[in-house]
């Protein structure tokens, strides 16, 4: 017997919306099995993972804070993914955004004003945009695979940040810790709710999401990106520039990842450290697909992913489970999303082994 995938004639619209929910449900069920196998009470563990982080105002603030960089990165990536352009290096563009925006804060240290934060945001977005432009140019010029180049550039950016905070940008009064100076108040995102760390970055993320939604659904440029993604030959036939789509996708996703980086640094960390992101740029790839590459789906997906980060910490603190649980859950979720996606489009058929070679 052989298993064969056979395309379905009609893919149900209803199922397309249901797949993320089914995938989430399967992830939870697998979680129950997993925790039981680890000898923990599965329901306490799930409660600790998914519910407990949200039982305080502070917790809800944290939830939104962690969703912010995910949302910014994933919304940007979704533009490229719709256009069949594979930017895997949002983490690097995020890091570069943090470096450039943080660099502005440090350059004007002791010489600040109300203009500082906007300038940092612009510098952060520009840094991510420039870092994103490199794989786009390499692809357009030399047909270099953007998946590889954007991924490799991520590690370059992370190493560069490490060099800066260990070397030239290290806080002179910081007892040799690999950190920069703390940014001045003018270089920090205003806090929105007293008693939490919820900062203005979240508003920025929501505005950006709406702009991207309008861009993709209402503008001709957005339409071109979608045509290029769905039918490259049709795009060439109609005279849309494939290279233009590649460049645009990388500039948008790079700039938004850079914005995520500087928003994270100026909103939650307050300085540059060797590590500014626990992998938001990579998790955003999952978020983008979980949200079905639609800006509003991505809002929900980034909230779920953010909860997974909090849940992992909560399990570590309360039940003494390793933080790696977060990674396991992310992996499970992506696996189930992609798996159910396939099953919506294809059906599995059992066929007899063919006799002829």
């Amino acid at each position: 017997m052989l298993l064969r995938l056979e395309p379905r004639q009609t893919s149900s619209k209803w199922m397309q919306y249901a797949t993320p929910l089914i995938a989430a449900a399967l992830t939870v069920i697998t979680g129950v099995i997993l925790f039981t196998a680890l000898g923990r009470d599965p329901f306490l563990a799930l409660y600790t993972f998914f519910v407990r982080p949200l039982t305080s105002v502070y917790g809800i603030g944290e939830w939104a804070i962690k969703a912010t960089p995910l949302l910014l990165c994933a919304v940007g990536l979704s533009v490229g993914f719709r256009g069949n352009v594979w930017n895997i290096g949002a983490e690097g563009q995020l890091t570069m955004g943090a470096i450039c925006g943080g660099g502005v804060a440090l350059a004007f240290w002791g010489n600040e004003g109300i203009w500082l934060l906007p300038l940092m945001l612009i510098a952060g977005a520009a840094g991510g945009l420039a870092w994103g432009a490199i794989p786009a140019i390499l692809k357009n010029r030399f047909n270099a695979n953007e998946i590889l180049t954007s991924l490799m550039l991520t590690y370059v950016a992370i190493q560069f940040l490490g060099y800066l905070v260990h070397g030239p940008w290290r806080d002179p009064d910081g007892f040799n810790f690999p950190e920069t100076r703390l940014f001045n108040d003018y270089g920090l995102m205003p806090v929105l709710v007293e008693g939490t760390r919820l900062h203005a970055g979240v508003i920025l993320a929501v505005i950006v999401t709406i702009i991207v939604w309008i861009f993709m659904s209402r503008t001709f440029q957005g339409f071109k990106v979608q045509v290029a993604g769905q039918a490259p030959a049709a795009a060439a036939y109609a005279g849309y520039s494939q290279k233009g789509v590649v460049l645009l996708s990388f500039l948008v996703s790079g700039a938004l990842a850079g914005l995520a980086g500087i928003s994270e640094v100026s909103g939650t960390i307050g300085q540059l450290q060797p590590v500014v992101s626990p992998g938001y740029g990579f998790a955003a790839i999952i978020v983008a697909f979980l949200g079905r590459l639609h800006p509003f789906g991505i809002v929900l997906a980034s909230l779920l992913m953010s909860l997974m980060y909090l849940g992992g910490e909560s399990l570590q603190i309360n039940l003494n489970l390793p933080l790696a649980v977060t990674g396991v859950f992310q992996g499970l979720l992506l696996f189930f999303v992609l798996g159910s996606e396939v099953l919506v489009r294809y059906r599995i058929k059992l066929t007899a082994t063919p006799k002829e070679a």
Partner: protein
């Protein structure tokens, strides 16, 4: 009457949303050439796939020499004595003829014995081929011979031919018919699938006509007229296209000057110094056997393939051969590509969005770059109405339309832009007779409004019907251009096999450089 070689009784096949075959009865006598006639989507392909064991029927039975049989897969079909020559060949370019034929045989066999068998069959049935030649070096007609020989070495009782002449020159068609008649005289039945009515009248003893998955008639083609056959196929009076005899004195709007481009495809054909001019109001046809540079020529004119020198292609006398398709469109060029799904239309987008695909320069996008959805939907609605596009509204996905309806939509979209120049690749390939007439009429009407039209097609009937002048492309070169009234199928057919060197000199003075 003797027992049928092959008989189908009540064959029914349901696909999701389509009843492809509805209780089909069909009987083929030994040695008979039987035509299976029908428009695209009538269910011909499904039916032969059932006979050849590729698809399983939901209901009905197949009788072989009067006894019921069950055909689960193609190798069982071959074991029974059913051979099939597909429209698209399944040959390995890097293997020799004999090796390719050997791959199609299920039982153990010796390649040397097979080679001599191939030589014998090739001799006996007038299918000249060298068994030691590699397939990549063969012409399309020769490849088809390999496919036929591949069936014949298995000594079939029934041979299924799926649209075999669509890739052949008229002379090659004649050769093929001789072979088929020879086979039938020796007792091999032939199931011949086609929508070319003249061929069926020449070749076939009897015919089964399908429409919408049902048998609408059994008839003897020689006792019918092409018109009556066509009406059985489409189920109504055949519309005719009208044209006025107009004088061609307008200025040249599109011209090619020594267009020479190497093909980007290693198996493609390089364009080799093509000159032509299309005047205002003229419909110029380019005939030719598939794979002689048509694809490259069309891509070069549209701009998907960029030429080495700007003045090789001129619109209103100005060189455009190095600018993008968008810039050429801005100058009044419109283009209908040979592939519909994936190039002419985005399969998973709605018709409304597909209307926007090429009409974006026509007030459908605001200066700020926003799509004017009202305008776009209105345009799609008008295309649908004017060109009788049958679809589930303008929000239906392009891939849900039948080939003919999608083609009407694409051609409608391009024609309603009122282009100065319209270039079409195989405009009615695989399109049913009714839709083809609508398309032909729309092309002629556009030309009478002053457009220059260039049609590339393999269908000579089509070219002779709608074109004012005709040329032939062969191995990337263009033959002289002749007014349609001063040439005929024989001459064009001869040119299709590349023999136009003499004619080039003879009419050289007539063709402006």
């Amino acid at each position: 009457m003797s027992t049928s070689q092959l008989e189908l009784k009540g064959i029914t096949k349901q696909y999701p949303g389509v009843l492809a075959n509805d209780a089909i009865d069909l009987a083929i006598l030994p040695g008979e050439v039987h035509a299976l006639l029908g428009e695209n989507g009538a269910g011909k392909s499904t039916l032969v796939k059932i006979i050849y064991g590729v698809v399983r029927a939901d209901a009905g039975e197949i009788l072989w020499n009067g006894a019921p049989v069950h055909i689960a897969n193609p190798s069982q079909a071959r074991a029974l004595g059913i051979g099939m020559v597909f429209q698209h060949f399944n040959l390995f370019d890097t293997l020799t003829v004999a090796e390719n034929i050997s791959l199609g045989i299920d039982e153990a066999h010796d390649l040397k014995v097979l080679t001599s068998e191939i030589e014998e069959i090739s001799e006996r049935y007038g299918l000249p081929i060298n068994p030691h030649q590699h397939v990549h070096a063969l012409s399309v007609g020769e490849r088809q011979r390999v496919e036929i020989i591949r069936c014949l070495v298995q000594d079939p009782k029934v041979l299924i031919m799926d649209e075999p002449t669509s890739v052949l020159t008229p002379q090659e068609v004649e050769k093929l018919f001789e072979t088929l008649q020879r086979l039938s005289s020796e007792g091999c039945s032939i199931l011949y699938i086609s929508h070319k009515l003249e061929e069926i009248q020449v070749l076939c003893d009897s015919a089964t006509v399908l429409r919408g998955g049902k048998v609408t008639a059994h008839c003897t083609p020689r006792e019918e007229t092409p018109k009556s056959l066509a009406e059985m196929m489409i189920g109504s009076e055949l519309p005719v296209c009208k044209r006025d005899g107009r004088a061609l004195e307008g200025e040249t709007q599109l011209s090619l000057h020594g267009l020479a481009i190497p093909s980007p495809d290693p198996h493609g054909t390089d364009l080799n110094g093509i000159d032509l001019t299309v005047r205002k109001g003229e419909v110029l046809g380019i005939a030719g056997v598939a794979g002689n540079g048509q694809k490259e020529l069309l891509a070069a004119i549209n701009g998907e393939l960029i030429s080495p020198r700007s003045d090789m292609i001129r619109i209103d006398g100005e060189g455009v051969a190095t600018v993008s398709p968008a810039r050429r469109r801005a100058r009044g060029l419109a283009f209908v590509p040979e592939e519909r799904l994936g190039r002419g239309a985005v399969p998973e987008m709605s018709l409304a969005n597909n209307a926007l695909l090429t009409s974006y320069q026509h007030e459908m996008v605001s200066p700020q770059g926003f799509i004017d959805f009202g305008h776009m939907r209105d345009y799609a609605t008008r295309i649908r109405k004017n060109f009788d596009v049958r679809s589930d509204g303008i929000d239906a996905e392009a891939k849900s339309l039948s080939g003919g309806n999608l083609q009407k939509f694409i051609i409608g979209r391009e024609i309603m832009l009122e282009p100065k120049i319209l270039v079409l690749g195989h405009p009615t390939w695989g399109v049913d007779v009714g839709a083809a007439t609508i398309i032909h009429q729309a092309i002629i009407d556009l030309a009478s409004r002053g457009a220059s039209v260039l049609v590339v097609s393999e269908d000579l009937d089509e070219l002779f019907e709608i074109c004012d002048s005709i040329a032939v492309i062969s191995e990337g070169r263009l033959s002289p251009v002749r007014p349609t009234s001063e040439t005929n199928v024989e001459e064009i057919g001869r040119w299709m096999s590349g023999q136009f060197a003499d004619a080039t000199q003879e009419v050289h003075h007539a063709a402006p450089a």
